[in-house]
Amino acid sequence: MIEVQEITKQYGEKVVLDKVGLQFHKGKVTSLIGSNGAGKSTLLSVISRLLSQDGGVVMVDEKNVTEYKNRMLAQRLSILKQSNHVRLKLTVRELVSFGRFPYSQDKLTKEDMMKVDRAIDFLNLRAIEHAYIDELSGGQKQRAYMAMVVAQDTEYILLDEPLNNLDMKHSVQTMKMMRQLADELGKTIIVVLHDINFASHYSDYIVALKDGKVIYHDTTDNIIREDVLKDVFGVRVKICEFDHKRICNYF
């Protein structure tokens, strides 16, 4: 389980995270929502040690992340951020193989190869596995990076706005894949989302942040309510039920 206690982060005078305490449920998809600047991405970066916090601790499986060896932590927790613009001459398969680096470094074993193959199939990349990533479309590139994370095969997967730059079809595919990872492989997924309807449709739990504080943390059904969302985003939202899923209309 991932647990954060009293996480504080500030840039100069501006407090971005204000004593955030949370527990993320194992094997579930938890979405982080909130307006711009609420601290969602910062929180995700702190949990994944890309950013060091000014106070508080991050616990992974009851152990402080600072006590982990980097390599061991990379076998438990992975993060995928946006803006992965690499100009390397790298094929999709080579990129996905990097997911095995925490285990075998650059000497891939048979098991590693198998996991790489599985990840490639999982994201439907077989047809382009030998294509160079700098020649792919945005959606394909995103899938290639996702496959790398899948090959990394960590218990916890953190995704920072994975739907950015994706069209409708690929957004839905990505979210379905996340569900699959949680439901079939038992992964714990924490994802920053901007689109409230995707959060409503695909997540088990939702954490709402506002001004660096957690203001709600509950099951999806308890968050996708008109009064709660008005509180989080400051926008009037109308909620309709459609196929047992709640859809928010805020236009």
């Binding site: 980097n70 993060i79 990097f98």
Partner: protein, 319 residues
């Protein structure tokens, strides 16, 4: 799979080219006192290999660390510091320079100065907890400019005759290397490269960017620091041996990336060493035999490099 064969084939071609240019340089028009000439040329070949190893590894590693293909380690102010040290020495001892300070002393002072400077720079920046590579580069650029200005100022003050001593140090040359310096340089370079080559797999990961490197379990700050130290040692050795030559880095790295389309750094660096050695051997050959020492080596390499870049610009439209 086809790609792998291509890279292996290109590596062989590069090796052959390097050996051919080496043989050409060694054996062309040996003359009657061939033993003497061969010995003299042999030293130059060793010096060229040392410099090629230093420039290739440091430039490729530096470009990967900074994720930038148009930077060379000279941006950190190594070369301007070297020139400042040389200027200060001449300023202090004027025409007594060579009597007071043997070339070995000079070599040691230069290497110690450059490595000491880089360590100080790293310490200052990392101690403040600002583990930011770009801040380091920025401070390096500013200090480099400061060193250059100081050198220019002191060069104005020294006697015009003494200035020629400094001027001789401003351009890289293989013509007046002290043989006694060659072996220590070779040992340091080989040892550093051996350590460096054991770590090239980290460069492969670092090339994916900081976030991915951390995600994949690299102790980012530690690995970057180690590479910065390796780069400092290599640049210092090659600069103290032949003078400022990292301009070569820009040309040979980009040529290597163009010819060897791989992300594996052990292949890239090995290829880059061969490309650098070939470029230097041919450049030195042209300078000695065709232009009769009338133009400096850097002029030849810069000219060829310039033409190559124009060709690249015309051909690919985007770099």
């Amino acid at each position: 799979m086809e790609k792998k064969i291509n890279i292996r084939r290109n590596l062989w071609i590069a090796l052959l080219l390097m050996m051919a240019s080496g043989a050409l340089f060694l054996f062309y028009n040996l003359g009657s006192s061939w033993e003497f000439a061969l010995r003299l040329r042999g030293f130059k070949v060793v010096a060229i290999l040392v410099v090629a190893g230093c420039v290739a590894f440091s430039s490729v590693a530096f470009q990967t660390l900074t994720n930038n293909r148009i930077l060379t380690p000279s941006i950190m102010g190594f070369e301007s510091l070297y020139l400042l040290i040389q200027t200060v020495i001449v300023y202090l001892y004027s025409d007594q320079t060579y009597r007071v300070l043997s070339s070995i002393d000079n070599f040691l002072v230069s290497v110690a100065g450059m490595i000491g400077f880089s360590f100080l720079l790293y310490l200052l920046i990392y101690k403040k907890g600002k583990d930011n590579l770009y801040l380091l580069l920025l401070v390096g650029i500013i200090l480099g400019t400061l060193f250059s200005s100081l050198s220019s100022f002191m060069q104005l003050l020294i006697d015009p005759n003494d200035f020629f001593i400094v001027q001789g140090k401003m351009f890289a040359t293989f013509n007046k290397i002290n043989n006694k310096l060659l072996w220590p340089s070779l040992v340091v370079m080989t040892a550093t490269l051996l350590i460096g080559f054991r770590m090239t797999r980290y460069l492969d990961v670092l090339a994916l960017g900081r976030d991915q490197a951390i995600n994949l379990g690299l102790d980012y700050n530690r690995v970057v620091k180690i590479f910065l130290v390796i780069i400092a040692v290599l640049v210092s050795v090659s600069t103290a041996l032949v003078g400022p030559i990292t301009f070569l880095g820009l040309l040979v790295t980009n040529l290597t990336y163009e010819l060897f389309r791989t992300h594996k750094h052990h292949l890239l660096i090995a290829a880059c060493i061969m490309v650098s050695a070939t470029a230097l051997l041919i450049g030195q050959f042209l300078m000695e035999r065709v232009f009769n020492l009338s133009i400096p080596l850097s002029a030849i390499i810069n000219m060829v490099g310039g033409f190559y870049f124009i060709y690249l610009l015309l051909r690919v439209k985007k770099l």
